[in-house]
Symmetry: C2
Subunit: 113 residues, 2 copies
DNA sequence: TTAGTTTTTAACTTATTGGTTGAATACAGT
DNA sequence: ACTGTATTCAACCAATAAGTTAAAAACTAA
Protein backbone atom coordinates (compact mmCIF):
# COMPACT_ATOMS: atom_id res chain seq x y z
CA UNK A 1 0.00 0.00 0.00
CA UNK A 2 2.99 2.24 -0.42
CA UNK A 3 2.44 3.25 -4.04
CA UNK A 4 1.19 6.78 -4.69
CA UNK A 5 -2.16 5.81 -6.17
CA UNK A 6 -2.99 3.63 -3.17
CA UNK A 7 -1.93 6.41 -0.82
CA UNK A 8 -4.25 8.83 -2.58
CA UNK A 9 -7.24 6.49 -2.75
CA UNK A 10 -6.73 5.66 0.90
CA UNK A 11 -6.60 9.34 1.87
CA UNK A 12 -9.85 9.94 -0.02
CA UNK A 13 -11.62 7.01 1.64
CA UNK A 14 -12.78 9.15 4.55
CA UNK A 15 -15.67 11.63 4.47
CA UNK A 16 -13.99 14.04 6.87
CA UNK A 17 -10.92 14.23 4.66
CA UNK A 18 -13.00 14.71 1.54
CA UNK A 19 -14.91 17.48 3.29
CA UNK A 20 -11.63 19.14 4.21
CA UNK A 21 -10.60 19.05 0.57
CA UNK A 22 -13.96 20.52 -0.44
CA UNK A 23 -13.41 23.34 2.03
CA UNK A 24 -9.91 23.96 0.69
CA UNK A 25 -11.22 24.08 -2.86
CA UNK A 26 -12.63 27.44 -1.87
CA UNK A 27 -9.36 28.76 -0.55
CA UNK A 28 -6.61 28.09 1.96
CA UNK A 29 -7.40 27.68 5.65
CA UNK A 30 -5.61 27.14 8.94
CA UNK A 31 -5.85 23.88 10.88
CA UNK A 32 -8.17 25.49 13.41
CA UNK A 33 -10.47 26.81 10.72
CA UNK A 34 -10.56 23.40 9.08
CA UNK A 35 -11.30 21.71 12.39
CA UNK A 36 -14.13 24.02 13.44
CA UNK A 37 -17.03 22.17 11.77
CA UNK A 38 -16.18 18.82 13.32
CA UNK A 39 -17.16 17.19 16.52
CA UNK A 40 -13.72 15.71 17.10
CA UNK A 41 -10.54 16.83 18.79
CA UNK A 42 -8.11 19.14 17.09
CA UNK A 43 -5.49 16.43 17.31
CA UNK A 44 -7.73 14.13 15.28
CA UNK A 45 -8.19 16.74 12.57
CA UNK A 46 -4.47 17.42 12.65
CA UNK A 47 -3.93 13.74 11.89
CA UNK A 48 -6.39 13.82 9.00
CA UNK A 49 -4.53 16.78 7.59
CA UNK A 50 -1.27 14.93 7.85
CA UNK A 51 -2.76 12.02 5.91
CA UNK A 52 -3.81 14.41 3.16
CA UNK A 53 -0.38 16.01 3.18
CA UNK A 54 1.39 12.65 2.97
CA UNK A 55 -0.70 11.84 -0.07
CA UNK A 56 0.34 15.15 -1.62
CA UNK A 57 -3.26 16.37 -1.71
CA UNK A 58 -2.42 19.48 0.27
CA UNK A 59 0.62 21.60 0.99
CA UNK A 60 1.32 23.80 3.99
CA UNK A 61 2.76 27.20 4.63
CA UNK A 62 3.55 28.64 8.06
CA UNK A 63 2.53 32.12 9.05
CA UNK A 64 3.15 32.89 12.73
CA UNK A 65 1.45 30.11 14.77
CA UNK A 66 -0.77 29.24 11.87
CA UNK A 67 -0.22 26.52 9.30
CA UNK A 68 -2.19 27.33 6.22
CA UNK A 69 -3.29 24.41 4.07
CA UNK A 70 -3.70 24.61 0.34
CA UNK A 71 -5.23 22.09 -2.01
CA UNK A 72 -2.87 20.44 -4.51
CA UNK A 73 -4.40 19.07 -7.67
CA UNK A 74 -1.66 16.62 -8.70
CA UNK A 75 -2.91 13.47 -7.00
CA UNK A 76 -6.45 14.29 -8.07
CA UNK A 77 -5.23 14.40 -11.64
CA UNK A 78 -3.69 10.97 -11.12
CA UNK A 79 -7.03 9.64 -9.90
CA UNK A 80 -8.66 11.28 -12.87
CA UNK A 81 -6.20 9.54 -15.17
CA UNK A 82 -6.78 6.19 -13.53
CA UNK A 83 -10.54 6.36 -13.67
CA UNK A 84 -10.28 7.84 -17.15
CA UNK A 85 -9.04 4.50 -18.41
CA UNK A 86 -12.33 2.98 -17.29
CA UNK A 87 -14.46 5.84 -18.50
CA UNK A 88 -14.76 4.13 -21.84
CA UNK A 89 -16.47 1.22 -20.07
CA UNK A 90 -19.68 3.15 -19.83
CA UNK A 91 -19.23 4.55 -23.30
CA UNK A 92 -18.85 1.34 -25.32
CA UNK A 93 -15.34 2.01 -26.50
CA UNK A 94 -12.50 -0.10 -25.21
CA UNK A 95 -9.59 1.16 -27.28
CA UNK A 96 -8.23 3.71 -24.84
CA UNK A 97 -8.70 1.26 -22.00
CA UNK A 98 -6.36 -1.25 -23.59
CA UNK A 99 -3.79 1.44 -24.19
CA UNK A 100 -3.93 2.59 -20.61
CA UNK A 101 -3.76 -0.92 -19.22
CA UNK A 102 -0.69 -1.73 -21.29
CA UNK A 103 0.90 1.45 -20.05
CA UNK A 104 -0.03 0.63 -16.48
CA UNK A 105 1.89 -2.65 -16.59
CA UNK A 106 4.98 -0.69 -15.60
CA UNK A 107 3.72 2.05 -13.33
CA UNK A 108 1.23 0.24 -11.11
CA UNK A 109 2.43 -2.39 -8.66
CA UNK A 110 0.03 -5.11 -9.59
CA UNK A 111 1.80 -8.02 -7.95
CA UNK A 112 3.27 -6.55 -4.81
CA UNK A 113 2.30 -7.63 -1.28
CA UNK B 1 -16.76 5.09 6.62
CA UNK B 2 -20.02 3.49 5.70
CA UNK B 3 -21.01 5.81 2.87
CA UNK B 4 -20.75 4.47 -0.69
CA UNK B 5 -18.02 6.83 -1.87
CA UNK B 6 -15.77 5.93 1.05
CA UNK B 7 -16.43 2.24 0.45
CA UNK B 8 -15.39 2.62 -3.17
CA UNK B 9 -12.27 4.68 -2.48
CA UNK B 10 -11.28 2.22 0.19
CA UNK B 11 -11.73 -0.74 -2.16
CA UNK B 12 -9.55 0.99 -4.74
CA UNK B 13 -6.79 1.74 -2.24
CA UNK B 14 -5.07 -1.59 -2.84
CA UNK B 15 -2.92 -2.43 -5.86
CA UNK B 16 -4.05 -6.06 -5.95
CA UNK B 17 -7.68 -5.03 -6.12
CA UNK B 18 -6.99 -2.44 -8.81
CA UNK B 19 -5.13 -5.08 -10.79
CA UNK B 20 -8.11 -7.41 -10.47
CA UNK B 21 -10.34 -4.68 -11.87
CA UNK B 22 -7.90 -4.11 -14.71
CA UNK B 23 -8.04 -7.80 -15.49
CA UNK B 24 -11.84 -7.78 -15.41
CA UNK B 25 -11.94 -4.82 -17.76
CA UNK B 26 -10.91 -7.29 -20.42
CA UNK B 27 -13.69 -9.73 -19.63
CA UNK B 28 -15.17 -11.84 -16.86
CA UNK B 29 -13.04 -14.33 -14.97
CA UNK B 30 -13.40 -16.95 -12.25
CA UNK B 31 -11.87 -16.52 -8.81
CA UNK B 32 -9.15 -19.02 -9.64
CA UNK B 33 -8.25 -17.23 -12.84
CA UNK B 34 -8.13 -13.93 -10.99
CA UNK B 35 -5.94 -15.40 -8.26
CA UNK B 36 -3.41 -17.06 -10.58
CA UNK B 37 -1.01 -14.09 -10.99
CA UNK B 38 -0.62 -13.51 -7.26
CA UNK B 39 1.72 -14.91 -4.73
CA UNK B 40 -0.93 -15.15 -2.05
CA UNK B 41 -3.46 -17.74 -0.96
CA UNK B 42 -6.73 -18.20 -2.78
CA UNK B 43 -8.54 -17.29 0.40
CA UNK B 44 -6.78 -13.92 0.41
CA UNK B 45 -7.82 -13.21 -3.17
CA UNK B 46 -11.33 -14.37 -2.32
CA UNK B 47 -11.40 -11.72 0.40
CA UNK B 48 -10.20 -9.03 -2.01
CA UNK B 49 -12.97 -10.02 -4.38
CA UNK B 50 -15.52 -9.74 -1.62
CA UNK B 51 -14.30 -6.23 -0.85
CA UNK B 52 -14.77 -5.28 -4.50
CA UNK B 53 -18.21 -6.88 -4.51
CA UNK B 54 -19.26 -5.07 -1.33
CA UNK B 55 -18.29 -1.81 -2.99
CA UNK B 56 -20.41 -2.73 -6.00
CA UNK B 57 -17.38 -2.70 -8.27
CA UNK B 58 -18.01 -6.25 -9.43
CA UNK B 59 -20.93 -8.64 -9.65
CA UNK B 60 -20.88 -12.43 -9.62
CA UNK B 61 -22.60 -15.20 -11.45
CA UNK B 62 -22.33 -18.90 -10.64
CA UNK B 63 -21.71 -21.50 -13.26
CA UNK B 64 -21.06 -24.98 -11.84
CA UNK B 65 -18.30 -24.66 -9.23
CA UNK B 66 -17.12 -21.42 -10.74
CA UNK B 67 -18.05 -17.92 -9.66
CA UNK B 68 -17.52 -15.58 -12.54
CA UNK B 69 -16.75 -11.97 -11.71
CA UNK B 70 -17.77 -9.07 -13.88
CA UNK B 71 -16.74 -5.44 -13.63
CA UNK B 72 -19.51 -2.97 -12.75
CA UNK B 73 -19.00 0.61 -13.83
CA UNK B 74 -21.41 2.35 -11.45
CA UNK B 75 -19.07 3.11 -8.55
CA UNK B 76 -16.36 4.13 -11.00
CA UNK B 77 -18.78 6.65 -12.46
CA UNK B 78 -19.36 7.97 -8.94
CA UNK B 79 -15.63 8.43 -8.49
CA UNK B 80 -15.50 10.10 -11.86
CA UNK B 81 -18.26 12.46 -10.78
CA UNK B 82 -16.50 13.27 -7.53
CA UNK B 83 -13.14 13.99 -9.09
CA UNK B 84 -14.91 15.78 -11.92
CA UNK B 85 -15.87 18.52 -9.49
CA UNK B 86 -12.18 19.16 -8.90
CA UNK B 87 -11.21 18.80 -12.53
CA UNK B 88 -11.79 22.51 -12.94
CA UNK B 89 -9.06 23.15 -10.40
CA UNK B 90 -6.41 22.44 -12.96
CA UNK B 91 -8.37 24.25 -15.63
CA UNK B 92 -8.87 27.66 -14.02
CA UNK B 93 -12.63 27.51 -13.88
CA UNK B 94 -14.37 27.23 -10.55
CA UNK B 95 -18.02 27.53 -11.54
CA UNK B 96 -18.81 23.84 -11.81
CA UNK B 97 -16.87 23.16 -8.62
CA UNK B 98 -19.12 25.45 -6.62
CA UNK B 99 -22.19 23.82 -8.11
CA UNK B 100 -20.96 20.36 -7.25
CA UNK B 101 -19.96 21.35 -3.74
CA UNK B 102 -23.37 22.84 -3.04
CA UNK B 103 -24.94 19.67 -4.35
CA UNK B 104 -22.61 17.54 -2.27
CA UNK B 105 -23.79 19.17 0.97
CA UNK B 106 -26.65 16.67 1.04
CA UNK B 107 -25.19 13.52 -0.46
CA UNK B 108 -21.78 13.31 1.16
CA UNK B 109 -21.49 12.69 4.88
CA UNK B 110 -19.17 15.53 5.68
CA UNK B 111 -19.58 15.59 9.43
CA UNK B 112 -20.01 11.95 10.32
CA UNK B 113 -17.40 10.14 12.38
C1' DT C 1 9.72 36.66 31.25
C1' DT C 2 5.09 35.42 31.44
C1' DA C 3 0.72 34.28 29.52
C1' DG C 4 -2.12 33.11 25.60
C1' DT C 5 -2.96 30.90 21.05
C1' DT C 6 -2.23 27.38 17.60
C1' DT C 7 -0.62 23.11 16.33
C1' DT C 8 1.79 18.79 16.93
C1' DT C 9 3.47 14.79 19.53
C1' DA C 10 3.18 10.85 22.62
C1' DA C 11 0.91 7.22 24.74
C1' DC C 12 -2.95 4.69 24.79
C1' DT C 13 -7.45 2.14 23.22
C1' DT C 14 -10.41 -0.07 20.04
C1' DA C 15 -11.60 -1.59 15.53
C1' DT C 16 -10.32 -2.87 10.92
C1' DT C 17 -7.30 -4.80 7.39
C1' DG C 18 -4.68 -8.12 4.97
C1' DG C 19 -2.65 -12.03 5.34
C1' DT C 20 -2.18 -17.09 7.04
C1' DT C 21 -3.82 -22.24 7.57
C1' DG C 22 -7.18 -25.80 7.91
C1' DA C 23 -11.81 -27.27 7.57
C1' DA C 24 -16.18 -26.97 5.21
C1' DT C 25 -19.14 -26.47 1.19
C1' DA C 26 -20.60 -27.00 -3.62
C1' DC C 27 -20.43 -29.07 -7.69
C1' DA C 28 -18.60 -32.51 -11.63
C1' DG C 29 -17.23 -36.80 -13.39
C1' DT C 30 -16.51 -41.49 -13.15
C1' DA D 1 -20.58 -43.38 -3.57
C1' DC D 2 -16.13 -41.55 -4.19
C1' DT D 3 -12.59 -38.31 -5.86
C1' DG D 4 -11.16 -34.10 -7.51
C1' DT D 5 -11.72 -29.17 -8.32
C1' DA D 6 -13.30 -24.48 -6.97
C1' DT D 7 -14.50 -21.48 -3.54
C1' DT D 8 -15.62 -19.84 0.99
C1' DC D 9 -15.57 -19.82 6.05
C1' DA D 10 -13.53 -19.69 10.71
C1' DA D 11 -10.01 -18.79 13.73
C1' DC D 12 -6.09 -16.60 14.30
C1' DC D 13 -2.08 -12.98 13.94
C1' DA D 14 0.41 -8.65 13.08
C1' DA D 15 0.10 -4.17 11.45
C1' DT D 16 -2.50 0.02 10.66
C1' DA D 17 -6.13 3.41 11.39
C1' DA D 18 -8.99 6.57 13.88
C1' DG D 19 -10.05 8.36 17.81
C1' DT D 20 -8.97 9.96 22.83
C1' DT D 21 -6.34 12.95 26.53
C1' DA D 22 -2.38 15.23 28.23
C1' DA D 23 1.95 17.27 27.47
C1' DA D 24 5.16 19.70 24.48
C1' DA D 25 6.41 23.00 21.01
C1' DA D 26 6.17 27.23 18.26
C1' DC D 27 4.96 31.51 18.03
C1' DT D 28 2.70 36.36 19.61
C1' DA D 29 1.94 39.93 22.61
C1' DA D 30 2.29 42.27 26.88
Amino acid sequence: MTDPLSLTFSALADPTRRAILARLAQGQASVGELAAPYDMSLAAVSKHIKVLENAGLISREKDAQYRYCKLQAGPLQDIDGWVGAYRDLWRDNLDQLDAYLADMQRSDDTNKQ
